[in-house]
Symmetry: D4
Subunit: 149 residues, 8 copies
Amino acid sequence: MALNVYLAGEIHSNWRDEIAAGCEGLDVVFSGPVTDHAASDDCGVAIMGPEENKFWHDHKGAKLNAIRTRHDLAAADVVVVRFGDKYKQWNAAFDAGQAAALGKSLIVLHGADHQHALKEVDAAALAVVEHPAQVAQILRYVLKGQLPT
Amino acid sequence: MALNVYLAGEIHSNWRDEIAAGCEGLDVVFSGPVTDHAASDDCGVAIMGPEENKFWHDHKGAKLNAIRTRHDLAAADVVVVRFGDKYKQWNAAFDAGQAAALGKSLIVLHGADHQHALKEVDAAALAVVEHPAQVAQILRYVLKGQLPT
Amino acid sequence: MALNVYLAGEIHSNWRDEIAAGCEGLDVVFSGPVTDHAASDDCGVAIMGPEENKFWHDHKGAKLNAIRTRHDLAAADVVVVRFGDKYKQWNAAFDAGQAAALGKSLIVLHGADHQHALKEVDAAALAVVEHPAQVAQILRYVLKGQLPT
Amino acid sequence: MALNVYLAGEIHSNWRDEIAAGCEGLDVVFSGPVTDHAASDDCGVAIMGPEENKFWHDHKGAKLNAIRTRHDLAAADVVVVRFGDKYKQWNAAFDAGQAAALGKSLIVLHGADHQHALKEVDAAALAVVEHPAQVAQILRYVLKGQLPT
Amino acid sequence: MALNVYLAGEIHSNWRDEIAAGCEGLDVVFSGPVTDHAASDDCGVAIMGPEENKFWHDHKGAKLNAIRTRHDLAAADVVVVRFGDKYKQWNAAFDAGQAAALGKSLIVLHGADHQHALKEVDAAALAVVEHPAQVAQILRYVLKGQLPT
Amino acid sequence: MALNVYLAGEIHSNWRDEIAAGCEGLDVVFSGPVTDHAASDDCGVAIMGPEENKFWHDHKGAKLNAIRTRHDLAAADVVVVRFGDKYKQWNAAFDAGQAAALGKSLIVLHGADHQHALKEVDAAALAVVEHPAQVAQILRYVLKGQLPT
Amino acid sequence: MALNVYLAGEIHSNWRDEIAAGCEGLDVVFSGPVTDHAASDDCGVAIMGPEENKFWHDHKGAKLNAIRTRHDLAAADVVVVRFGDKYKQWNAAFDAGQAAALGKSLIVLHGADHQHALKEVDAAALAVVEHPAQVAQILRYVLKGQLPT
Amino acid sequence: MALNVYLAGEIHSNWRDEIAAGCEGLDVVFSGPVTDHAASDDCGVAIMGPEENKFWHDHKGAKLNAIRTRHDLAAADVVVVRFGDKYKQWNAAFDAGQAAALGKSLIVLHGADHQHALKEVDAAALAVVEHPAQVAQILRYVLKGQLPT
């Protein structure tokens, strides 16, 4: 048994590395968005030419990123969505909505202060946790039946 | 030709009424979430009994609301998502993600200040507008081929 | 907004009538299995001829009942599954499994004593209640946004 | 030709090993639930923290187990469901319902005393047998065209 | 509850009328192929011009008939397939295969002499009967729960 | 039996009216794109504001038209695509591709001079004709079994 | 590029071997039914116990064979169906119907004398040929773009 | 992460080679139509025998090509469609329509002079570019997050 796990959401902390470290030895393949913030914002105009209007600048970039996101979400067995402390993070909730509608197993990762604001997202999830280490523990249990000691 | 239109997102202004007023005479059926904020928050415990833990209080309510949302999203031809000025509104982005994954025609409604934060959502939409009246104009054009004068 | 609601499970008490009574005035269409126990058991041989072997006697009947169940499950927006006090009721759990896999909104109705045995079924549900009246309250809230007073 | 076979249901006897032994040399990959009963019951609280209410204790665990079950059921070509002598086993019937709705080839394994109670489940199956060895014989025939001698 | 029932197969006896007569008072809508044999054979060339080659003559007609068949099969809840005594009737078996793959409830109608040759078709059916009156009895039971007296 | 028929392609002749006239008395509901060429080109900027760049001007309009097209294609039982004498008409072929992938019954309408260039489109169709009257004859045959006299 | 090719139909001549021989060097994986006629007829009772009634004898066997057929049809890119000179061969037409409804590329193989009786099956096919060697030529062209010399 | 990329459209220039060259070192598998124009036109009659009527000559060939196209489109993650300067190229737009309806990520490649005629196709795309090198840059960004320097 192997799992494809997509790690969506916050790109400003090393939570993806923490999960990967906790999954050592497991048959898991991780995927996720481009985490180079500048490249992610400017990819569209860098490849397809500049736009005067900020809306179209962002539009061209967001669509290139969608090629990656759609592929990885569709290929995923489990989608983990992390809500951090900064920014609006509507993109994270948007990814969670796609994952839910595609019938993926959803794990949501956020601090207690966001609990009420995320209740609809949490209600669609199979697990809600606060720490990346717990995601790794869940994946280990799902794959191996082993609980943390 | 008739359209089912789900109006997702912000529940603290009368934007749904504005759209409905602008669609007078069109063959459109609107649906949307329960807009009584208190009822929406407490429906779970009101019907199924109290919870000490706020997480489960919210969880029971969010799942009842999901019965309505899932039904209406699945039945919709067009999903309009409004992002207002207050609150986190992750629920709105979550609904937009579901609509996108279900292949619904998505119209996003937000002010210019949210443009960058919503670029991934906008990139999945067939129209991005600032005012409810524009949504009505779009629906009139789609149904009747008539443009605003 | 209207809802198709399939009432699965126990056929030895009048819980279906209780729910219907509680939904007076709502735009709900109910469906359910044939509740005449003898007819349900013997329909196959009554129409298609007798069988010496009890397995095939039951097999022919169960398949005729499946024509009805599959149609109604597929057409349902909400599936309510009632687990009573008697019998094995594997059929109820089987219907719940079909409903879950078809992405239907699932409401489970059972007494507290069955809680542990039904945890997997409950985990797939959007609501778990003990009394038929609560199902009616849920449907009223979903359709009208009104809570019990 | 290779087959993915999910072995659902009873976790208190070694029937899974019997089937595996009978399939030696065949290109079959088996999967199944976590069979450590205590871990399966307590995984949710062990990873995500304790609950006072037994319902939520079980709920958190059942949802983690669902991550595994849904993945394995979706990946399976054949689903074998075993009903043993003890417990309610609604989970087994729930898995069978999911398998049927997903269009999987279903094999049901139970003793003659459960025949009438399982008639709807049996009616959805492509084979109903009493002994694990028969499941292995079926898989060998399906893959190699060889019958038991 | 209403049923769409497609009556496939033999077009040289009045079995469709027998079933319709037996369903008087039931909420059933019947559909079926064009039963005017000559029109069915020649429709392609009559509308789209003659062909010298018999293969293309038949090809053009069979495709026009497919417009009707595909629509009606897709809309059907129940598909009844009748195998008569004459001709090869591969078309009937072809319709049965489509119905099975689309997950429709399949009822097969044939005489005892065709039993062995039709075993794979019968194995995919929810009912196998010899007489049109039995089909009507099944539809009455499915819709009303009433057995023949 | 009723049919939803989408009439795609050329908007510069009255072929849609010819088909409708030929279908008098039949239970057919026709749909199609906005045929006011100027409105179709400029709808995006008329409602959502001007664009300096012609690409985005067209982009905004094409997406509004897609709301209509996607809805009507999805709702159609039969899609008729007309290739006229003028323009590139890539849009017509694009609609035909969508119809084919969605499993719709496709009827292609074009003159003999386009035969070779349209061979892949024709190969996916259930009928290829030269005159609108033939489309009406096909729909009459499909619905009523009547051939032209 | 690789192709999974299911070879359905006649089991009394060596046409499968002819096709395989003609595909030497191509990246094709063939599958097909159990071609040991006696095993295919008796597999059900050999593994699951005897039946007095021939209908149930055949029924149990046909369902075991369906485990194989459904798996292989679902996994196939191309389905080749051969109609021979003997027997009713309704099973072949049934497989063709399933293949068509599943959207598989269908190739039909039969002699000229069956042309009229198979017109509906042929109309759903992407190729109709008389000789197994032609099937191999088609597969070589599809995979390599090479035509017979 | 790996990508299957189908390269549809123009077969008279070496644009496919340019893209492949630009993707050196990436985990991309390319597919596309048979680019030997004569073989593509005549494959049907070469294998299945001559036709007097040009329509059927082309029809037989187009259907063989469809076996390849459908397989490759269904297997693709990304579909690139190139519109060149010559011919009608309805086939390219037809492939784009199929790709859009199948939910594939679509990249369109054409010169500025075709902008208006292709606006509906472009509106369904995630990227519109003029040069093959840009396609390679997009694939590199999607797979590796690296932008051209």
